[in-house]
């Protein structure tokens, strides 16, 4: 039987199929549908220091071959996560990656300090799509300088693998990937959602309560594959690819572009069994192709 284990630097995963942050809650919701232990890891819903209420409704709408979401990081906050959500996740034997977000550098640092010692948490993922309130609202993820400084600081106090999640809403993602690597990121995950909006032509108003939202799903897959392909050439650290993955064929594009692991996001909503099936299909694919491990196809489409 082919071995699905992958090593992303110091992060060892039983297989390279992860649940993308924000699309899998804290795992519990899906536990009656699938065996959480089977997944490579669960990247839990974006966590902030204090609980957040999130954005006004409507928060989601469908778009051609995709969806927009403007959840607004609704989450129960650090304390409730540690006392209520994490124990349940650990009980289910899932590997947990915590996606953290904040409005200031201090938020990130506090979260990283509180979380990185906790047993059961295998890595942290920095969600940089939040506006930096101290720097006039510039997103952490769109400025090399602001991002680099944040990563350096978090790196300093975080003994576990640090994943930096890149936003696609930038002119040159390779530049930011490079800055993330230089500043000490162990792994890069990409892509987060593309900024988009839908207008309700009946009411002549933006449909989402938050006006704009993040576009995800198969619609953005070509953009995501391209970014993984480009970033693979500019950094040496491993990549986690995501954006519109629904099945094995989609995932293979990401591996071949250069991702060492993939995450399924909106695809979970359409098919709650997408991840376990992808894991099985990936194993069959490796066996059929006579491959020992996924590593043999990582970046194979690079020319």
């Amino acid at each position: 039987m082919a071995n699905l284990e992958v090593e992303l630097g110091a992060l060892k995963l039983k297989n390279p199929v992860l649940a993308a942050s924000g699309t899998f809650g804290f795992g519990e919701e899906y536990s009656s549908l699938i065996d959480l232990e089977k997944l490579g890891a669960i990247m839990v819903k974006g966590l902030t220091l204090k609980p957040r209420q999130g954005n006004p409704a409507p928060r989601i709408t469908e778009t051609p071959a995709g969806m927009l979401n403007a959840i607004g990081l609704q989450n129960p906050g650090l304390d409730a996560f540690l006392s209520r959500e994490l124990p349940r996740l650990i009980d289910s034997h899932a590997a947990v990656i915590v996606n953290i977000a904040g409005d200031t550098e201090e938020d990130y640092i506090t979260l990283a300090r509180e979380l990185s010692g906790v047993p059961g948490i295998v890595a942290l993922e920095l969600n940089l799509s939040c506006p930096n309130v101290k720097q006039g609202g510039i997103l952490f993820g769109t400025s090399k300088m602001i991002m680099g400084r944040l990563i350096t600081k978090v790196r300093g106090i975080c003994p576990i693998p640090l994943i930096v999640k890149l936003s696609p809403n930038v002119t040159d993602i390779t530049e930011l990937a490079h800055a993330a690597e230089e500043s000490g990121a162990d792994i890069i995950s990409l892509i987060n959602t593309l900024k988009g909006m839908v207008i309700d032509i009946k009411s002549k108003r933006p449909l989402l309560g938050n006006i704009t939202g993040g576009l995800s799903g198969p619609a953005i897959r070509p953009v995501a594959v391209r970014m993984v392909y480009d970033v693979y050439r500019s950094v040496k650290i491993p990549l986690i690819g995501m954006g519109g993955i629904m099945n094995l064929d989609d995932a293979l594009q990401f591996f071949m572009a250069g991702a060492r692991a993939v995450a399924v996001g909106a695809g979970n909503f359409v098919d709650p069994c997408a991840m376990p099936r992808l894991i099985d299909d990936l194993r069959s694919y490796l066996e059929k192709e006579g491959l020992q491990s996924v590593d043999e196809i990582v970046g194979s489409a690079q020319i």
């Binding site: 924000g22 919701e29 819903k45 006004p56 409704a57 409507p58 469908e62 629904m246 359409v270 709650p272």
Partner: protein, 260 residues
């Protein structure tokens, strides 16, 4: 929770509503009135997301269940073209159902349009509990009215209201119900499902009436199981507001929980 239900029958029941009879033993057995199924429409990437539909009735003995749906957009248009023997990918039953009081009493069911669907299922449960069921059902006109008599247990009293007066009371179903109250109707509890303005109106009125009242809400859904936080509705509990999820905390809410 995920099943392929077999289509036993699909039938047009009004100018834009369809009746769907599905066979899936587990869902038929487990479903409670007020719960819904999250159905995948075709296998194409458009429409992308599943669509939620209330369960309109079950027959656990036969392993079958009913759905009533209205053609609104692309998804329901495609659903209306399924054929006998097709398989529908159904996630569910999901959400919390209606809860009914222990005592024998008079239950009033108020439906606007396709909101009738979950109340049909509920009426069967109420009748089994030996309650008197009075059903007020409103639509914009006669041709939009589902032939309730063929879906509703015959023991239920049914009152129709149409906005254009083409059948039953001329006006909104809330007004028809108000007339009933004026004529001495004494509901012990109310269950309502329909368009938001109707439910909002009822909640307003109920500040005077003060009946026990449960309402079933709709919101756009992605996951349907509480994972994405997409179907948020602001709810209040003891003066404090928080974010509730229609798919998990609802779709049935107490009338005074919802912040409109």
């Amino acid at each position: 929770m995920l099943s392929k239900a077999r289509v036993l029958e699909i039938r047009k029941v009004s100018s834009n509503c369809y009746f769907l009879l599905l066979e899936e033993a587990r869902i038929a057995r487990e479903s409670l009135p007020g719960q819904f199924l999250h159905i995948r429409i075709g296998e194409s990437l458009t429409p992308f997301l599943r669509r939620p539909f209330s369960i309109a009735g079950t027959s656990p003995e036969n392993g079958t269940l009913k759905i009533l749906f209205q053609v609104m957009g692309e998804g329901t248009r495609i659903l209306s073209m399924v054929q006998k023997e097709d398989r529908l990918d159904c996630l569910g039953p999901l959400g919390s159902g209606f809860s009914t009081q222990k005592a024998h009493n008079t239950s009033v069911l108020l439906a606007g349009g396709i909101g009738a669907a979950p109340l049909m299922f509920l009426s069967e449960a109420l009748l089994r509990e030996q309650k008197k069921v009075i059903f007020y059902y409103g639509a914009s006109s006669l041709e939009q009215i589902i032939p309730v008599r063929s879906f509703f247990p015959s023991e239920a009293e049914v009152y129709l209201a149409t906005e254009d007066g083409s059948a039953g009371y001329r006006g909104f179903v809330t007004e028809a119900f108000q007339e009933g109250l004026n004529n001495g109707l004494k509901p012990a509890e109310i269950f309502a499902c329909g368009p938001k303005p109707m439910l909002q109106k009822l909640a307003e009125k109920n500040r005077d009436w003060k009946f026990p009242m449960q309402i079933s809400l709709e919101e756009r859904m992605a996951c349907g199981i509480g994972a994405c936080q997409g179907c948020a509705v602001t709810v209040q509990e003891k003066g404090e507001t928080r974010c509730g999820l229609v798919c998990r905390d609802g779709p049935v809410f107490n009338w005074d929980e919802v912040v409109w």
